[in-house]
């Protein structure tokens, strides 16, 4: 089973490596990181922090864009182009196929994050900005968030078109970043119904802000170990649940 999943994942990475589109996106992300130098130069204060703020934000946003952009077509493209037919005629279950595709895209994204992180480090060194363990933690958690986002995109990709999956995925991403604020607002409303509803929404939707350590990294604030490993566990559990649901949906689908 592991061999078959690895073969599908490896092939997914190879497809990305040979695709010009993703190189374009990574290049654009590196340009954005470098553009932080120009924006920071416009400020009189905290130039290094602005530079790194833009750099980390670029990694997170471009990573999310690529995760959703590629993830929503992950399964649909295979069915639409009928490349899946010959694969599933081999001793490969639909679950193995889906997990393999997921793992391949996550590995691809992590490779891209590594390239963007290298760009971030290079720009920081050139600008004389400090680099700490906190930056590594922030980039690491951004990568973990991407794994969760790919699971979201994979779920939607398993049963709907890329267009709808993009809308659902983008909505999920935005809601995931707002859910904590929504819960806090609900708590302040004083209305029990609103308070319970917003708390419930916060519990159901992924709290993507828990993967954002940009402020801590840029300002050199201390980060508790639990602020790192809890989000990692959370992402692992949430992704596993989403993928299990995706497999369940995909198993029942007619691939016409």
């Amino acid at each position: 089973m592991i061999g078959r999943i690895a073969a599908i994942a490896g092939n997914t990475v190879r497809e990305a490596v040979r695709s010009k589109v993703l190189y374009g996106l990574v290049f654009f992300a590196l340009v954005m990181i470098a553009a932080g130098v120009v924006l920071a130069a416009l400020s009189y204060v905290e130039r290094e922090r602005i530079l790194q703020d833009i750099g980390l934000a670029s990694i997170r946003l471009f990573g999310a864009a690529i995760a959703l952009f590629v993830g929503v077509g992950l399964i649909h493209k295979e069915v639409d182009r009928r490349t899946i037919f010959t694969i599933l005629s081999k001793p490969v279950s639909r679950g193995e196929f889906l997990i393999g595709k997921y793992a391949g895209l996550v590995l691809t994204l992590w490779l891209q994050v590594a390239i963007m992180a290298a760009g971030f480090v290079a720009i920081s060194l050139m600008a004389g900005a400090p680099l700490t363990w906190g930056h590594a933690q922030a980039i690491g958690l951004a990568a973990v968030e991407l794994a969760l986002l790919v699971a979201v995109a994979t779920l939607f990709s398993s049963f709907t078109t890329p267009m709808l999956a993009s809308l659902f995925g983008a909505g999920f991403y935005l809601a995931g970043h707002l859910t904590r604020d929504l819960r806090d607002l609900g708590a302040q409303s004083g209305a029990p119904f609103v308070e319970q509803t917003t708390a419930w929404v916060h519990r159901v939707l992924p709290d993507l802000e828990s993967f954002n350590l940009t402020i801590e990294a840029v300002h050199g604030l201390p980060v508790a170990a639990s602020d790192v490993w809890l989000p990692v566990l959370y992402a692992a559990g949430y992704s596993a649940a989403l993928l299990a649901l995706a497999v369940l949906v995909f198993e029942r689908r007619d691939l016409r």
């Binding site: 078959r4 599908i8 497809e15 037919f85 010959t86 694969i87 005629s89």
Partner: protein, 329 residues
């Protein structure tokens, strides 16, 4: 007596409904079809476009699910995946990852099929040789012609040396040389003891390679049995034109010889199987009729097929001449 163990593919009362669009209304594509494929035979699954051939094959490959009924391959339910290490499949107009080379894609499929690392490179090289693609082994698939892709499709179906091979329109879109190559390959598989299930609408291919056939039309099986019985019976026919024949005698010829009656006015045209021509002529002359002409000809495969699809007798109407065209698409 046929033993259950000889049935490689077993389909029993399978129905399949699809829901077109978003509506609640269902459309039935397969109406309780049943057939079986025996070990070591080349089985032709024949039908016009839209008859349900590809739907049946997708169902057998576990790509779609039956609404009701049972389908088994090698004694396993088709929804299982492990047994597929003994099954090869070539879809119609196959699509592959075109960013890979011929060698890479076969190696990928070999990995998925559980071919060991030690055997993989050798097996891939053998198959490339077998489908005459060694010269293009390291070129990306996006540079391949349609015929080359079809050969990659055949190679991937055989990469793990399966017991049974399913081919969906394997000669589709190929030139005569390509068709002959694929046909020879199918016969080689047969000689190697493999079971071959072939979806096709090209009847000359059926006649040349298939041991048994099932005819499907409008989602129903119209015939299942030996190819010889389907295509061979009464294939040589003659049109006998007579004058001055009594109506009772015509009726007798219809009943006794299966004569099909046509013609105009006094000239009656009787189409009968070749073996009955002498008897019919003798009887007609003996009853005072005049024999005007006897024209032997061969019933086209197309006519036989169309008759079977329409539930007819397998011979065309008198006056209709045999055609060279044997496809029915």
């Amino acid at each position: 007596m046929e033993r259950a163990g000889d049935e490689i593919v077993r389909v029993r009362d399978v129905t399949k409904d699809f829901r077109p669009g978003l509506g609640l209304r269902r459309k039935r594509i397969l109406h309780g079809i049943s057939f079986s494929v025996r070990r070591g035979e080349i089985f032709g699954f024949v039908g016009p476009n839209g008859a349900g051939k590809t739907t049946t094959l997708k169902l057998l490959m576990g790509l779609i699910h039956a609404t009701s009924g049972e389908a088994e391959i090698l004694g396993h339910r088709v929804q299982e995946s492990a047994y597929r290490r003994h099954v090869g499949f070539l879809p119609e107009n196959p699509y592959f990852y075109d960013f890979l080379t011929g060698r890479e894609i076969l190696s990928f499929y070999a990995k998925l099929s559980g071919v060991s690392r030690a055997d993989r490179a050798k097996r891939v090289a053998e198959l490339l040789e077998r489908v005459s693609l060694t010269h293009a082994a390291d070129a990306r698939l996006r540079t391949y012609s349609k015929g080359m892709l079809q050969r990659v499709g055949i190679a991937q179906a055989l990469v793990h040396d399966p017991q049974v091979v399913f081919l969906d329109e394997p000669m589709s879109g190929l030139d005569p040389i390509g068709r002959k190559e694929i046909r020879d390959l199918i016969l080689e598989l047969h000689a190697d003891g493999k079971t071959v299930f072939m979806n096709t609408h090209i009847l000359s291919d059926v006649e040349m390679v298939c041991d048994r056939v099932a005819i499907i039309a409008e989602g129903r099986i119209r015939y299942e049995g030996p190819t010889e019985d389907f295509l061979g019976a009464d294939r040589q026919v003659s049109d006998v034109v007579v004058t001055g024949i009594a109506p009772e005698l015509i009726e007798r010829f219809e009943q006794e010889y299966g004569a099909q009656v046509g013609g105009r006015g006094d000239h009656i045209e009787l189409r009968v199987p070749e073996k009955h021509v002498s008897d019919l002529a003798r009887a007609a002359l003996g009853a005072g009729a005049e024999l005007r002409s006897v024209t032997p000809h061969r019933v086209s495969l197309e006519s036989i097929f169309l008759s079977a699809v329409e539930g007819g007798t397998g011979t065309p109407e008198p006056g209709e001449r045999a055609q060279g065209q044997e496809g029915v698409s």
